[in-house]
Amino acid sequence: MVERVGAARRPGAVSLLADSLQCEGRSLLKSFVSRAVLRGESVRVLALEVSPEEFVCGLDEEVRGRLQIDDGFTDPLCWGGGDPSPLERFVSGQLEGPGPQLLVLDSLSWLLLRLGPVAVCQRLRQLQRGARHTGLRVLGLLHADLHPPRLLEVVGQSASALVTLTTDPRPPRLGHGCPPHAVATTCITGPSGRVTRTVEYITVDEGLHVRVSGEGIGPERGPQGDVSSVDPAANLTFNLRVTAEERRAREGLVLPFHLPPARKASLLQAAGGGAGGGGRIFYTPDTGDDFDPEDPDDDLDI
């Protein structure tokens, strides 16, 4: 599902990659850029947070030659004078122009901290509206822990696809090779408004190849019914559950000091001298015994 985000062709689609300090997302962004260029798309990168040299580092020569990069890193605010910076051209709408099919923003967080959420969301909406004629798509990198959750929600609603990268909560398992780099939670909003959400383990290998490993760990519930993805009964040394066979055996077990009705009836029957014999007491009174059936203890003063 995460690879569908990078291969999306719908005009006006705004795709966001949300990463964090513990789980970087620039490698995934560069992977998407590389694939788009190799598919023959016209890609334009607005490099704000890192220099263009640092962005193209690791990309193939063929991709570098066909990639268009605007240097918004060296002098974004025109402190050195000269032509309007790519930042100003992005704000004024001169950057997308006729031509690029995919506009990459590295990073959207950089724009949010300088321009504010209102201006950035308005700009994204303008790009989406203009995409009917230009066919432009937008792909942006967002640092989730730089912004408050409400802001992330608002910006996420402007996007048609949001991939959130978090660290793998599972402990590393010996003998299973390198653990996946991140857990990618992908939310894609279709044209009809239907939201599809999946969770996958991904790794960006050498050469910027995205590898989806393992099965999706299922959709996550909302804040009211959060289900932890970690099963607390997963790695216990004892068994918390019983099978049907074990349950039957347990129910048929007779406890040593428990007197079930069947056993009680058999004991009483045996004591009453029924078939099968039982204990009997034979009493032969001595000559000195004054056995009075009406007063066996001889304590009545009659």
Binding site: L21, S27, E49, R114, H143, T167, A182
Partner: protein, 268 residues
């Protein structure tokens, strides 16, 4: 410099040593000893250093540097060190009665007169200090700032601080292949949102993060704090996780001893 810390940083660093950003954070403790380490480290390494001392006076840094075997006055005289004493320079624009004077316009701290102004003048001072040609050839330029949280306290906006750091990175790290060392205070649990944004933004663009914090269990005579060293690999060809090492330290008179957790000489 502290030999043990130098050994730890050079032994575990997996990448380049030039063109990097180093972020020093302190939380509920004083991380100034890290600034003194890097100042003496780069001066002994024949680097050209521009030091923005906004927290303490020149004499303070000089006294500590002498204990570490470095003479800041001599370094200033031979042009290796450009020391900007913020405490002294801050008085000039504040005490100047004429608002249109050239003194205010040329001062690196002219933003004190109008807090909404950018830190462009300070950036130009840094550029001029580190790009001046001299007879002696130094290895690479280094900018050390102690500390950036002071600018927030002076009323500078988050945006202006981030823009200043961005331009310093663009010029020093990318263009001149120099290093930047910045000290900020971590106030994550104190609710200072602006400071948190500055700290986290700098974490994203730093290659090495040294986080000094007090012990969670309280004061200890033999262990003064804990240092978390995070190497952000930022590999260009694949996704990699950050590598974090944790050490405890004890500050002595002329040195700082670093050791693995639980291996303090008082414990063993």
């Amino acid at each position: 410099m502290f030999p043990q810390l130098s050994h730890i940083l050079t032994a575990s660093a997996a990448g380049r040593q030039q063109g990097i950003g180093i972020l020093l954070c302190d939380k509920q403790t004083d991380g100034g000893f890290l600034v003194h380490h890097f100042l003496s480290f780069y001066l002994k390494g024949d680097c050209k250093v521009c030091f923005l001392g906004l927290q303490q006076s020149f004499n303070h840094y000089n006294l500590v540097a002498q204990k570490l075997g470095v003479n800041l006055s001599a370094a200033k005289e031979k042009g290796q060190l450009v020391f900007f004493e913020g405490l002294r320079a801050a008085l000039e624009p504040l005490l100047d009665d004429k608002p249109d004077s050239t003194l205010q316009a040329s001062s690196p701290l002219q933003f004190l007169s109008s807090p909404t102004a950018s830190l462009r003048s300070l950036y130009e001072f840094v550029c001029t200090s580190l790009t001046e040609t001299s007879e002696t050839t130094w290895k690479f330029p280094v900018l050390i700032i102690d500390d950036l949280s002071v600018l927030l306290s002076l009323g500078v906006s988050t945006e202006n601080i981030l823009n200043f750091m961005h331009y310093c990175r663009a010029t020093l790290c990318s263009k001149l292949q120099g290093n930047i060392v910045v000290l900020v205070h971590d106030t994550e649990e104190l609710g200072d949102e602006e400071n948190d944004v500055v700290v986290k933004s700098l974490c994203y663009v730093s290659h090495l993060i040294l986080h000094a914090e007090a012990l969670a269990t309280g004061h200890c005579k033999d262990i003064h704090g804990q240092l978390k060293i995070t190497h952000r690999t930022l590999s260009p060809t694949k996704a990699e996780r950050n590598v974090t090492d944790i050490f405890q330290y004890k500050i002595q008179d002329k040195n700082v001893a670093f050791f693995a957790r639980g291996t303090s000489s008082a414990v063993l």
